[in-house]
Symmetry: C2
Subunit: 449 residues, 2 copies
């Protein structure tokens, strides 16, 4: 019964001179006492549909409330206009305003509003052009990621979020309980990773992945950290470090390419609004081999530019800061780069211990503008080695006995990684603050709506 703007814009010739019915919101309005031009968006497409209101067909007195943001239902005759920039327009026959409209002060007007101001109204900002682009890309990317894993034969696996293990040993966890403070039989936190549980499911299903909300009680208010974000974590049995790195690169290249192809309008808008070379830069990565260097080599390279960093104390064993990561990918390689074989003290307990006794089979994938986008590793499959490391770190063995037990029965080893969904979206959109790629962002001291 109703057509969508997406349907019409894909095959405008099929709708030429046909009657169409559209429900949507007004995103632009201009005109005079005889003719009014209205642009309509119905959420199905980033494109707007131009609608022409003429005094001879429409009673202008009845639509004096027509304004930005107003919801309408229109019918009229569509004309395909291949000679013009827009794909067509509708000569409106009927127009009905839907719902109450205190429209004169709709917060989203067409002049530029700062991102900071928009952040104060997460319930409205997606009705601006910029956030419509971002959130449509978010959804498109979400679908592409699931599609990638499905086509690669992965099982989607729901790791528990309520957990009594702290997988990363990161410490920055949220504690959960009900009002009575005794809902569970032990201290329960919001999981910071689904990996440990995914490892269990990789045994038997071979290829599994989780894609779910993740929580960190991160108090540093940076533009890259949120208390709640989505994470993608594949885990593949039989895979080595090299194979999982290959999967990570393939995933990124495939989903980025697909989103660029399918969401052309959004990218054209983003390029006009910001980074002119957005797609060029992304596609260059999609068509490249990703360079891989050892952590040791990375330190060497960084030492050659020591004077440029705030943190100058660089040595084998030091934790790379974002400034170092970004320098490697932005200034040295001008491209995403993979760092492997980190000192074991910098990484979590479960990683495969290399022969050198010093490093683990870990990798980080760094990208320009962000720094670390992906972190992963081959897991330590040798029971005794894993146990020794856990004891070294004074971990509660009893609590993790089930995880150790995974090594006892038919465990060929596995590898996996964690990819921050929002960081990937930042990389793809060029948006610099994580608060602007999450519909209702949550950060320290900040939980709006």
């Amino acid at each position: 019964m109703f057509q969508t703007i997406n349907e019409i814009s894909i095959h405008p010739e099929l709708y030429n001179q046909k009657k169409v019915l559209i429900q949507g919101w007004i995103t632009n309005i201009r005109g005079n006492l005889k003719i009014i031009f209205v642009e309509l968006n119905d959420g199905s497409s980033f494109k707007n549909l131009q609608c022409v209101l003429k005094k001879e067909f429409i009673d202008f007195d009845k639509i004096e409330n027509l304004a930005l943001g107003v919801a309408v239902e229109i019918s009229g005759i569509f004309s395909n206009t291949p000679e013009r920039q827009q794909f067509g327009e509708v000569l409106v026959e009927t127009l009905e305003i839907k719902g109450n409209n205190y429209n004169t002060n709709f917060p989203i007007q067409n002049q530029e509003i700062s991102l900071e101001v928009l952040r104060q109204m997460p319930h409205f900002r997606h009705r601006s052009r910029l956030f419509r682009a971002i959130m449509k890309l978010r959804s498109a990317l979400f679908f592409e990621i699931h599609k990638f894993f499905r086509r690669q034969g992965f099982i989607n696996f729901s790791a528990p979020i309520l957990t009594s293990n702290d997988g990363e040993g990161a410490g920055e966890v949220f504690i959960v309980d009900d009002e009575n403070k005794d809902f569970f039989n032990k201290k329960t936190t919001l999981g910071v990773t689904g990996q440990l549980h995914a490892e269990a499911y990789a045994l038997g299903f071979k290829k599994v992945y989780t894609f779910a909300p993740t929580f960190r009680a991160e108090r540093s208010n940076t533009r890259r950290h949120a208390a709640e974000f989505w994470m993608i974590e594949p885990e593949v049995a039989f895979f080595t470090l090299e194979q999982i790195i290959e999967l990570a690169v393939k995933l990124l290249q495939k989903v980025i390419k697909s989103v660029i192809i399918r969401n052309k309008d959004e990218f054209i808008f983003l390029e006009k609004a910001g980074d002119k070379n957005l797609r060029k830069r992304l596609l260059q990565f999609c068509d490249s081999q990703v360079t891989q260097i050892s952590y040791e080599k990375a330190i060497e390279l960084l030492l050659e530019h020591q004077e440029k960093f705030e943190e100058k104390d660089l040595f084998f064993g030091c934790d790379l800061k974002t400034e170092h990561e970004r320098f490697l990918t932005e200034e040295i390689f001008h491209m995403p780069v993979v760092i492997i074989n980190y000192p074991k003290n910098l990484k979590a307990f479960y990683m495969h211990q290399n022969e050198d006794g010093q490093t683990v089979a870990a990798f980080d994938l760094l990208v320009p503008g962000i720094g670390e986008l992906i972190g992963g590793s081959q897991r330590e499959v040798r029971y005794e080695k894993l146990l020794a490391r856990m004891n070294e770190l004074n971990m509660n063995i009893e609590e993790f006995q089930w995880y150790l037990d995974l090594r006892k029965y038919g465990n060929p080893g596995s590898s996996g990684f964690g990819l921050g969904f929002e960081r990937l979206l930042m990389y793809i959109t060029g948006i610099e603050n994580i608060r602007d790629v999450i519909p209702f962002p949550r950060t320290n001291k900040n939980i709006l709506m």
Copy 2:
């Protein structure tokens, strides 16, 4: 390089007399001193691949550790056997055991193990045939649901899980904070619904849905309740109650049909293990019109069978218990049934207030074996009516002002529903306990691993 059992089983004729390489786990083993038959599963298919080990090719002394659950890599020549029940078998040339194997006591043996015992080992039970079927269906259903919404033109939307609103007013919420007890600037809970936020996004995007973990501090230990579960919540602007019910039924019918077609092996197994009429019953629903009755009519019908219920006090305004819901769908209609127009006191504050002043435009979809599978409503779009109801309920208006404000600008009304993913999976698999359709279930006093 490696083939999957899924690839081979779909087109066994293409692999006939070809060399194959497979990585997987042993799910069955029998034989004698001259010949050993091994069944292999690699997670790609519910089907196993039969592998034949002959003494003349394989050194039996080197594989004496071969047992159930062991991970192996095999190569050999595949023979298509269209005349037999199995699709083919591999004459093994090389076999390598991967990883350590304390195999003699692998907890998942082929004799029947009770569901209660298996619940104590969520890290291993998916390597049994029953849980392999359930978890593969879980993943398949997950993909089908996303596909349905994508094809219907929905935007996937991430509602925040950390929230300071309690959407349902249900009270059974988890409270979240970090060790220092001051991470946020107000009391923060795990959201029990993404609906309020989804309503904001339906304005502008028209069709949005969330599919995410949901949390309830539910203390009743029933077989249908978990503290952590996944919920699907579409919200569609411009939609009325009737339209959203239509969408709900269409969603169920479509995803159930797709899963039945794509996962035949799992259903054959489930039917052998339990309900012989599983698919017949499901397909009957898929091809039927769903009956719709008012709450008032439901009470009338139930009163005719009053003596059969534990809770006999049935009157207009009483809350239907699971026994009543199940009686309606199992004994009266023998089919899923939709109940509409509940008394407003039984439902949440945000539902459209009907003309009668007593009921709201709500619906519940009840299915046999479960009771309520879906609950939804048309939302109250009239600012004053909504505000009046919130005041009646003594709600904190300030906290919900943003939600009220959604009514001010271009709100044509919207409708939506919540579908419990695990309840749907229970309905589809015939599995009776929610703990058996979640990989690592979390319930009151119970957080294992």
